[in-house]
């Protein structure tokens, strides 16, 4: 996975300023608008072919946690 490119797309999906997210940035999806989470789930599906559940996503506290989740899914294959 190209982490730099993915973080850039994550910024776009969340309508954050370009370059404002790094791997250490906190992810507080509880505070997001529900549409933001939909955008990110769709981005992950489209870009990586992985389907992350909203509940799994909410457990990610940082962009780094999200990478760990995505890489784990890539290793074991998508669920369902």
């Amino acid at each position: 996975m190209d982490r730099v490119a993915f973080v850039a797309k994550l910024c776009t999906a969340l309508e954050f300023p370009a370059g404002s997210l790094t791997e250490k940035s906190p992810l507080n999806s509880e505070a997001w608008d529900s549409v933001d989470l939909l955008n990110v789930i769709a981005l992950i599906d489209e870009d990586l072919g992985l389907t992350v559940s909203g509940d799994d996503f909410k457990r990610c506290r940082s962009v780094g946690d999200l990478f760990a989740l995505l890489e784990e899914q890539q290793t074991r294959g998508p669920v369902g």
Binding site: V35, I41, T51
Partner: protein
């Protein structure tokens, strides 16, 4: 030649009262009318009046069908009524509708409780009734008033759902091949908690507390007597399930995907439909998205879309249409229809 079930006619009906994005924006705050449109693909939706129930919408849609000359009330052998907002817990709304429409008392009439997959499930039932000889003409009414369940300050659902109904006549015709079918059906009740009205039946009874609204996720308000939708989980379910259902249907159909003339999926939201279309690389010109004026009317979206597509000349005799319903339950169903 054997008798095969076929869709003969479809008519829809919407309540007169409409709710625009401008009205929603002024009531909900937070989102502008333009943002609501951008996120949902909806400009306005019809909302049933306080005294207007699923039976009223269904009866109005069926009366339009009779007025069109497609059939007479006395021709109907079986009424299938699909709703998740019935007039009463009992009796079946179908019995009320039989009376209001003046259907024969020796006709069958049942309700079935399904949401977004309801129309395609209705086709499976109608086909079974017709091709076993149990009925010659089946009236399938899909009528929904989700607005009855929605809290006014829950923008996650208030922006995307609208009320409406469709009446579909399914009858037998002599044909050497299926005009409805094959089918792919599916159910996964593990998702039941993600689209639910928690206090709406015998499991959880109403109390003084259950009707009290409180602020929930993303600033939305609702009580346990209101509709709850976990949008992210519904999207995940859809992205996982619908492409598999489409592949399964194509395998059973034994023809290439290119032979499909029009894809009419449940009109859940423009966002979700565009994601599905792109994921499956379906051609945009064959993929129906039209919820601008009616929003997501649950089990009525597919027949409403078919009626509109036919009126706009997008369906001709012999057109092969793929229908896919998916959502609350979880429940999903897909089939092929050959347009008469």
């Amino acid at each position: 030649m054997p008798t095969r079930a076929a869709i003969k006619a479809i008519t829809s009906y919407f309540p007169q009262s409409r709710l625009t994005n401008q009205e929603l924006a002024s009531q909900l705050g937070n989102w502008t009318a333009e943002e609501i449109h951008q996120k949902t693909g909806v400009s306005s939706r019809a909302i049933a009046g306080p005294e207007e129930c699923a039976s009223d919408l269904g009866v109005a849609a069926a009366r339009r069908l009779f007025e069109s000359g497609a059939c007479r009330a006395e021709d109907v052998d079986f009424l299938l009524f699909c709703t998740q907002s019935p007039d009463y817990a009992l009796p079946a709304t179908a019995c009320l509708v039989q009376r209001q429409l003046g259907l024969r008392t020796d006709s069958g009439a049942i309700d079935f409780n399904q949401g977004c997959s309801g129309f395609v499930y209705g086709l499976t039932l109608a086909k079974g009734l017709i091709e076993t000889g149990a009925a010659r003409s089946v009236l399938l009414i899909t009528a929904e008033t989700y607005s009855k369940w929605i809290h006014p300050q829950d923008r996650s659902v208030r922006t995307i759902f609208g009320d409406g109904a469709a009446a579909t006549l399914i009858a037998g015709v002599e044909a050497d091949q299926d005009l409805i079918g094959p089918f792919v059906l599916g159910t996964d009740g593990s998702g039941s908690k993600n689209l639910i009205v928690p206090v709406s039946g015998a499991r959880c009874r109403r109390t003084a507390q259950t009707g009290v609204a409180s602020e929930r996720e993303s600033g939305n308000w609702r009580s346990d007597e209101n509709l709850y939708m976990n949008g992210p989980e519904i999207l995940t379910f859809t992205l996982r399930t619908v492409p598999k259902a489409v592949r399964g249907l194509i395998e059973r159909w034994q023809r290439p995907l290119e032979d499909v003339d029009l894809f009419v999926f449940h009109q859940a939201s423009r966002f979700m439909l565009e994601r599905l279309r792109d994921k499956m690389a379906l051609p945009a010109e064959k993929f129906w998205i039209d919820m601008e004026q009616c929003a997501n009317t649950v089990s009525a979206t597919i027949p409403i879309a078919l009626e509109t597509a036919a009126a706009q000349g997008r369906l001709a005799s012999g057109s092969r249409v793929m229908l896919v319903g998916f959502g609350v339950g979880y429940s999903w169903a897909a089939t092929m229809v050959k347009w008469l």
